[in-house]
Amino acid sequence: MKRYITRRLLLLLPTLLLVSFLVFCIVRIIPGDAVTLMVAEMGFADDEAELRAVLGLDQSLPRQYWNYMRNALRGDLGTSLWSGQPVLEEITRRLPLTFRLALMALFWTLLTGIPLGVLSALKQDTWLDYLLRSVSVGGLSIPSFWLATLLVVFGAIWFRWVPPIDFIPFGEDPLASLGQLVVPSLVLSVALSASIMRMTRTMMLEVMREDYIRTARAKGLSEWVVVIRHALANSLIPVLSIMGIQMAFLVGGTVIMESIFVLPGMGKYLLDAITWRDYPVIQGINLFICTLIICINLVIDLLYGVLDPRIRY
């Protein structure tokens, strides 16, 4: 087990190396850099070369990459080209909000996806099953950015509900702060929940046909116990793997939700950084997200072992 975790964490290094390299190249392919923007915005035309030198953008690309990597390995992700603040600090300041948003979306996803999937399977081929299945197909095919935009626009027209412009910090009023995340996280969970629901339904139908379910019934256990104790755990093993895949989607979704609902989290920060070509920030956030997703997947893989005793690491 310990060896397994160590090996997986060691594998993290080459992955991060590759990701950092790709992101490094991609941000520099986007036309224009921070300096041209600064010049265009503020109009100090003569200092352009000097500005580049100050920001270290005059160095050769391999040199820049080398510096970036060397510092990153020491835990220093550089400073923002615009604010001059350390990137790591900026990220960790915005991270809790993104975390809360993602966790809340995950909460809705599990809260609705799994029970509805089970229900749909138990009521196979009844009107309820058909209804739930149509809803899940709908949920899967509605893009979350579209749904979010719709809510913002029609919320304002019909319900006089507007996403608040001023975000209430968690420290100021935790409940109100979380309250602001309810709608974005719900929107984010729609597609996730729909796919969890479909997977749960499929797996439940399969597991309910297994011999050990018949054994459980032959013991005289109530249907409730058969479903919860004997069928659910076995059905959730494959559902878990879907969730691993969904993590990347979830993180991507928070970026979109934060920008539509104007939430000052990591996603919003990333989009702004892209707009302003703030290379260190883009690179830093990507490394961060990548590490996060890999770690979550590791946790999920370890959870397999908890759910399924046949798996040994």
């Binding site: 054994t215 013991k219 005289g220």
Partner: protein
């Protein structure tokens, strides 16, 4: 001499009475009658063998007794189906749950798939005992250990913590038997309990079932497609074909004087120790009818029967007494000589 269960039969009341059982399945591509008018009694402490090729309705018959047939697509009908005086057809779900695992329990064919892979043996054993006998804590564990010990599993305390995949097929089937006997049931239904196991341990398991049910006075039903498996372990045998009982007799009589050509065929397909080396094992040619696609006219066995005549195809024989305690469903029961 102890009275055999056979001799007891006259005084004792049957613990299980099944009369005119019919089980249908309505499927997407048609309807199927899996069990066609099956009647039998089971007496306390008796051991009944049920024999027939795969698809003859053996499992469906006894799953119906447990009311474990999924309905729909299944539908169970019977003139009478009573367990110790209680109507199993009219019993509520709740009443059935009190019978299952408690008064009637079941061991299934494949011990590999019949145990839940994600729960420990202990957890799976305890839940039935807890439910029906209300034991808990130390006494619950003691009961589990005692049971595992009884079915010949060594280091039972340790086994309680094992997961099914850590045990061999034979051990798992012993666990299934321990679980089935855990609440001292009146009837143990064993559906092909050795079919999925290694030949070398089949005999051990069969003897274990016979010895334990004898000790506990539990009536047992041993379902198998291998007539040889029930030879030494049952009091009576009923042979099923295409959803019907074709012959029913006390075990010694059935082996000595089988009257139905199907029974005779099954008998000849038993591998024998004294068989000359190199001789191929006999098997009945053809296959049982496909109940979903074929309509059966007359005797269902006619297409495969060496003695079939016009009359056989025209009209189905009914199950008639041939001798005391010996029922046969064949027009030529009287002159069907054992050949081979």
């Amino acid at each position: 001499m102890m009275p055999t269960p056979m001799q007891n039969q006259q005084q004792a009341k049957p613990i299980l009475e099944v009369h005119g059982l019919i089980v249908r399945f309505t499927l997407r591509d048609g309807a199927l009658i899996a069990v066609r008018n099956v009647s039998f009694d089971l007496f306390p402490g008796e051991s009944l063998g049920v024999v027939g090729e795969s698809g003859c309705g053996k499992s469906v018959t006894f799953l119906s007794v447990m009311r474990l047939i999924p309905t729909p697509p299944g539908k169970i009908d019977a003139v009478k189906m009573r367990f110790s005086g209680m109507d199993l057809l009219d019993a509520s779900k709740r009443q059935m749950r009190r019978i299952r695992g408690n008064r009637i329990s079941m061991v299934f064919q494949d011990p590999m798939s019949s145990l839940n892979p994600v729960l420990t043996i202990g957890r799976q054993m305890r839940e039935g005992i807890q439910l029906h006998l209300g034991l808990s804590g130390r006494s619950l564990d003691d009961r589990c250990i005692e049971l595992l010990d009884k079915v010949g599993i060594s280091a039972p305390e340790m086994r309680l913590k094992s997961y099914p995949h850590q045990l061999s097929g034979g051990i798992r089937q012993r666990v299934m038997i321990a679980m089935a006997l855990s609440c001292n049931p009146s009837i143990l239904l064993a559906d092909e309990p050795t079919t999925a196991l290694d030949v070398t341990i089949q005999d051990q398991i069969l003897r274990l079932i016979r010895d334990l049910t004898r000790d506990l006075g539990t009536a047992s039903v041993l379902i198998t497609h291998n007539l040889g498996a029930v030879a030494g372990t049952t009091d009576r045998i009923m042979v099923m074909y295409a959803g019907r009982i074709v012959e029913k007799a006390p075990t010694p009589l059935l082996f000595k004087d089988p009257r139905h050509p199907y029974t005779q065929g099954l008998l000849r397909s038993i591998p024998r120790v004294d068989q000359p080396a190199g001789r191929r094992l006999y098997s009945i040619s053809g296959a049982p009818p496909d109940l979903l696609r074929e309509t059966i006219q007359g005797c269902a066995f006619a297409p495969r029967c060496p003695l079939a005549e016009e009359q056989c195809v025209a009209q189905a024989p009914s199950l008639e007494p041939f001798a005391p305690e010996h029922l046969v469903s064949c027009w030529k029961a009287a002159d069907a000589h054992q050949h081979g």
